[in-house]
């Protein structure tokens, strides 16, 4: 992450911690938001290549159920989360080998199809998944410590922030690398990449597997935070939510996904409390305004307000 990003990243992290200290239930909201931010970072990589996945909730569910299934045998979060990311990676590779050959609407819909197949499997295989009831997850230890609820939630939040910072930095490095720079080249001139001896399919596959790993990790964090997983995690509306957050946050920066996710979760929670029947309409209106008036998302607004002005001064 270059210096332009380091300042807002650390300031944002401090703000999140301060807010979380002011209202106890915000720790939970922010941890979920950061977990979704991880998955949305993956969506952003694919968006750079011009591809929109409407099925990435699949990998959130894969990560979450990996935690739920292994929790009875593995009690340690520092093992559970890598397992969730690894499961996301493996499923992402298997699905990616197939979908990385497709573009645009076909890419989007195939992802949707895979996620819905997984959703119905989770629902139908009651013997293993307990169907729509879902599976309760016992609170794991963190680095060997069995923490009480408040400490556990704080550790999850701080850990989530640390992960977001570290992976945000890695993602920005990735985007500047030849591989990351080849992603927009897939969007603009895929054949020219082939005429350079580069397989566009392989480039997209790498981005896809990374996105699946990030979503798997996010799903693992969600399972460890909500302590309850249900098939709904992989439902298509949740895939749409990830794309929504990506557009809300803006694709111009690796911080966009986290900014988008935090604002999204806050609006969702507050709007749902204030207008139980109308909050989806509010989200819809917000998305409409963003698309019409701020195509670069919240991060774009931040850039216009802070960075541009700063440079001129």
């Amino acid at each position: 992450m270059d210096r332009r990003l380091a300042l807002p990243a650390f300031a944002g992290a401090a703000l999140v911690i301060a807010l979380a200290a002011s209202a106890p239930w915000l720790k939970f909201v922010f941890t979920i938001a950061l977990a979704k931010g991880l998955a949305v970072t993956g969506i952003l990589l694919l968006l750079r290549a011009g591809q929109v996945s409407f099925g990435h909730a699949l990998y959130i569910a894969v990560g979450a159920y990996t935690v739920a299934f292994t929790r009875p045998h593995v009690g340690e979060m520092l093992l559970l989360l890598p397992l969730a990311a690894a499961a996301g990676t493996i499923v992402g590779l298997a699905v990616g080998l197939f979908v990385a050959r497709y573009r645009d609407i076909f890419f989007g819909m195939l992802n949707l199809a895979f996620s819905m197949v997984f959703y119905s499997l989770l629902e139908k295989l009651y013997e293993y998944t307990k169907g729509t009831d879902g599976i309760r997850v016992a609170r794991p230890t963190i680095a060997g410590m069995a923490l009480e609820r408040v400490d556990y939630e704080w550790t999850m939040l701080i850990g989530g922030i640390a992960l977001a910072l570290a992976l945000g930095w890695l993602a920005s490095r990735f985007l500047a690398s030849p591989l990351g720079q080849a992603l927009p080249a897939i969007k603009t001139r895929e054949t020219r990449l082939e005429f350079a001896g580069i397989s566009a399919k392989r480039v997209l596959l790498v981005a896809y597997v990374i996105s699946a790993a990030l979503a798997g990790l996010g799903g693992g964090i969600i399972a460890c935070t909500t302590l309850h997983v249900t098939p709904l995690l992989s439902y298509w509306t949740h895939s749409g939510e990830l794309v929504f957050i990506a557009i809300l946050g803006g694709g111009g920066s690796v911080l966009g996904p986290y900014l988008g996710a935090i604002v999204y979760e806050l609006v969702r929670v507050y709007a749902a409390a204030a207008f139980p029947d109308g909050w989806q309409m509010i989200l819809g209106a917000v998305l409409l305004l963003i698309i019409l008036f701020a195509a670069r998302g919240l991060w774009g607004i931040y850039e216009d307000l802070v960075l541009r002005k700063g440079r001129r001064a």
Binding site: L170, R173, F174, A176, S177, P178, L179, G180, Q181, A182, P184, A185, K187, T188, R189, T191, R192, L193, E194, F195, A196, G197, I198, S199
Partner: protein, 254 residues
């Protein structure tokens, strides 16, 4: 005569009823500059497309450096040392000029280099040297969408040269370029190619350019080669004049 570097034998391809290649035989010697001329729709671009793996010929064989490359995908052909530029420049429009070239430099070198940035010192230096060679240093940080046609053509060719090819196939390098600029661009281009010892094939509509820069010219007509030889001889052939130059004059007025 030395063994040809690039050799096409009996290439055929048809689209519906249109025979875009109808038995193309062409040998290109190492170091040669061969111009391809002929009316629009004669199959000149199709020849480049077949040679670079974008189209698979329905019959015939293409050999490069003694090995058969017929029907190989573009990726493996380019790795063997055949690069191309395009009639309509194919730039990465979300990137700057230097990034466009650097992507190609990286593609030829260490593309899978993990998290090291695309424009690391080594790649940036190589890309910048190419830009200087092509007189593009001034527009290095311009976005590909901001360039005029001549600059886009040169960028497109510099991208192909970044792959360090042994053969470069150029599709109309001077079309769309102001006629006052065409010799300047060709001088730059030919100097760069000669400096790297690159063998070149270029499709060209401008007979002055052909006479000045081609060692040999091949005349395309309806998927066939009508004549081939030194420009002075071929361009004096009445049949060629009728087929090509006649059409060309019409173009010049259009």
């Amino acid at each position: 005569m030395t063994a040809p570097l690039l050799s096409a034998k009996g290439l055929k391809i048809a689209f519906g009823g249109v025979k875009a290649a109808d038995g193309i035989d062409l040998d290109i010697a190492p170091g040669e500059f061969v111009a391809i001329i002929g009316p629009n729709g004669a199959g000149k671009t199709t020849f480049i497309n077949m040679t670079t793996g974008y189209l698979r010929p329905q019959a015939g064989h293409i050999h490069f450096d003694g090995a058969e490359i017929t029907g190989l995908p573009p990726r493996s052909i380019v790795r063997r040392g055949i690069a191309r530029s395009f009639q309509i420049p194919q730039l990465f429009t979300e990137h700057t000029v230097i990034e466009n070239v650097a992507l190609k430099v990286a593609a030829h070198g260490r593309f899978w280099r993990g998290l090291r940035p695309l424009l690391d010192a080594e790649t940036a230096t190589t890309a910048m040297r190419l830009l200087e060679q092509f007189g593009l240093a001034d527009v290095a940080t311009a976005r590909a969408t901001e360039l005029n046609e001549g600059t886009r053509k040169l960028t497109d060719i510099a991208m192909a040269m970044a792959l360090k090819p042994r053969v470069l196939l150029m599709d109309e390098p001077t079309s769309g370029v102001a006629s006052s600029e065409k010799f300047g661009i060709m001088d730059t281009l030919v100097a760069a190619l000669r400096a790297e010892g690159v063998t070149a094939v270029f499709v060209e509509h401008d007979m002055e350019v052909v006479e000045r820069y081609a060692d040999r010219v091949a005349v395309w007509s309806q998927g066939k080669i009508l004549a081939a030889g030194p420009p002075a001889t071929v361009l004096a052939d009445p049949a060629v004049l009728r087929e090509v130059i006649g059409v060309e004059t019409k173009h010049a007025h259009a």
